[in-house]
């Protein structure tokens, strides 16, 4: 059953696609993607932003954006994204039950991704932030082969094990000719709320060293802070709920760095 490679076709109405990826799980892709989307909106309120969660096995966006429920259909049978905090969101999590595992083999996953990419009524978006699953497999390949991607942001924690996987992630994007905008070093340092002592729980500055090796920029350095996780768990991401905090500001700066490195958008 050989169909050949799918032809790359832009998503209608979407100007630029930014993917947030990593090789490794659990480094904070979803947290970064969610806060990046909110930060892009906060930095420039004239832009319309969408957030697409293609982590079909572990979709975190619904929880983090405090959204739940099945999408309605538009007049032309497209799924309408769910809105919160001014961001249009779509996720596998809206299509399956909360405890239902998606135990599908590759082909079914691919057709689900196809649906999430092509059958959503996004309207006009300046930026679509795509939260990718961990790894370098089917989903990443399908997304890269299906739609033009303006840039990829790779998230990593400082430890070597995460960095090796981040390196693989960056390499994968290069293989499929997706520009890598840079690395985000997440969970970089923990500051004890009581005595202010700083501990590098996951090692120090590994992502910066990797960035140098790969000739990439570090787009942001996000500390390991209770507030970030708490606000995500509560469905009120920190850029929205505590915009004056240092952590939120780190995300706002990161969003600025991302925009600076995007190719000029087609008009």
């Amino acid at each position: 059953m050989s169909r050949g490679l799918p032809k790359q076709k832009p998503i209608e109405g979407v100007n630029q696609v930014i993917v947030v990826a990593s090789g490794k799980g659990g480094v904070g892709k979803s947290t970064t993607a969610v806060n990046l989307a909110l930060a892009l909106a906060a930095n420039d309120s004239s832009k319309s932003i969408g957030l697409l969660d293609v982590d079909v096995y572990g979709p975190s966006v619904p929880k983090m954006m405090n959204l739940r429920g099945n999408p309605e259909l538009s007049q032309n049978n497209l799924m309408k994204p769910l809105m919160n905090y001014g961001i249009a969101c779509m996720s596998m999590g809206f299509l399956v039950g909360e405890t239902a595992p998606v135990v599908w083999r590759g082909l079914l996953v691919m057709s689900a991704i196809e649906k999430l990419l092509r059958q959503v009524d996004w309207g006009q978006l300046d930026y679509l932030v795509v939260d990718m699953p961990p790894g370098t497999g089917d989903v990443q390949l399908s997304v890269s082969q299906n739609i033009p991607i303006s840039g990829a942001v790779i998230v990593s924690t400082p430890q070597d094990i995460a960095l090796t996987d981040a390196h693989k992630g960056a390499e994968m994007f290069r293989k499929v000719h997706v520009p890598v905008l840079g690395l985000v070093q997440n969970m970089s340092v923990f500051q004890c709320p009581k005595c202010k002592h700083k501990t590098h729980i996951f090692g120090a500055d590994g992502a910066r060293k990797l960035a140098r090796t790969l000739d990439l920029d570090v787009l942001g350095d996000i500390p390991l802070h209770l507030n970030i996780r708490e606000s995500s768990d509560n469905g009120q991401p920190i850029v929205f709920s505590q915009p004056e905090s240092d952590e939120a500001k780190a995300y706002l700066r990161m969003a600025e760095e991302v925009v600076r490195r995007l190719p000029s958008p087609p008009e």
Partner: protein, 272 residues
């Protein structure tokens, strides 16, 4: 010899334990490595099979990165951590030319390799085979559960971190186990709190209690909470033996207790 199980490379393996999580980055590979070390220190012969093809972490964690894999009559010879051959490893990491090489494969090719890893590694006599998996409930998981089914695994160890997004994903994994008939030996909550080395104040960076609550809700044993421990993180980077060298470190008691519970579960009469 049980007539039902196919003879071959897994016939000398007494107990097979799969380490699963719906969520990435919760510490599956770390748990696998520490369990292997802990069981070895209890005098057991252990194998670790790493079927995380996209992100094989186990070789590095056990100091075996860069080892070459050889063939023998029965198939692939596992990489041994030490002279006594008490810990045997197999991982796609050993087959890559460079450690940073990206394995960008689709499902069928991954499944084929997993089948080979299950049936073509000459494990010999082992007390435990611990299987490290990638996050999720995907092709790799279906393949490995199917391939291992006839060898009657002891069951699955589910790893989660305390926070809501992790627990949510692990709930899916529990359903996966139920649907595929895989017994859940227990749930481990990892990265459960961080004690400041300076003032000992414990901060629940990733929240607390989510794993225990999940276990209670699902009616499966809760095996313990492992705190964040920079020394453990360092040992993993360096491929050292944390269980031997750092018995005073915060994560040690919980990890040792989990290993003991696995031993108990293995000794208990089976469900069948």
């Amino acid at each position: 010899m049980e007539p039902a199980a196919s003879p071959g490379n897994l016939s000398g393996v007494r107990h097979i334990l799969l380490v699963l999580s719906g969520k990435g980055g919760v510490g599956k590979s770390t748990l696998c490595a520490q369990l292997a070390l802990a069981l070895r220190h209890e005098g057991k012969k252990v194998g670790v099979l790493d079927v995380d093809l996209c992100g094989p972490s186990v070789p590095r964690m056990l100091g075996a990165q860069g080892s070459a894999v050889h063939q023998c009559d029965s198939g692939w010879v596992p990489v041994y951590m030490d002279q006594e051959q008490s810990v045997a490893l197999m991982s796609v990491g050993f087959l890559l030319e460079k450690p940073d090489e990206a394995l960008v494969w689709r499902g069928p090719k991954k499944n084929a390799l997993i089948q080979q890893f299950v049936s073509d590694v000459a494990w010999g006599e082992l007390d435990f085979l611990v299987v490290d998996t990638p996050p999720g409930t995907s092709d790799e998981h279906l393949s490995v559960v199917e391939a291992l089914r006839s060898h009657q695994p002891l069951g699955a160890l589910l790893v989660t971190t305390p926070q809501a997004v992790a627990v949510g994903d692990v709930r899916r994994e529990l359903t996966f186990c139920r649907k595929t008939g895989l017994r859940v030996v227990g749930v481990v909550e990892n990265m459960s709190g961080f004690a400041c080395p300076h003032c000992s104040e414990c901060t629940n960076v990733f929240s607390t209690g989510g794993g225990e609550e999940l276990a209670r809700h699902a009616g499966v044993p809760f095996l313990g909470s492992v705190p964040l421990d920079p020394q453990l993180a360092r040992s993993l980077e360096e491929g050292g033996d944390f269980m031997r060298d750092f018995p005073g470190s915060p994560a040690y008691p919980a990890l040792a207790a989990i290993a003991r519970k696995i031993l108990d579960a293995a000794q208990a009469p089976g469900p069948g």
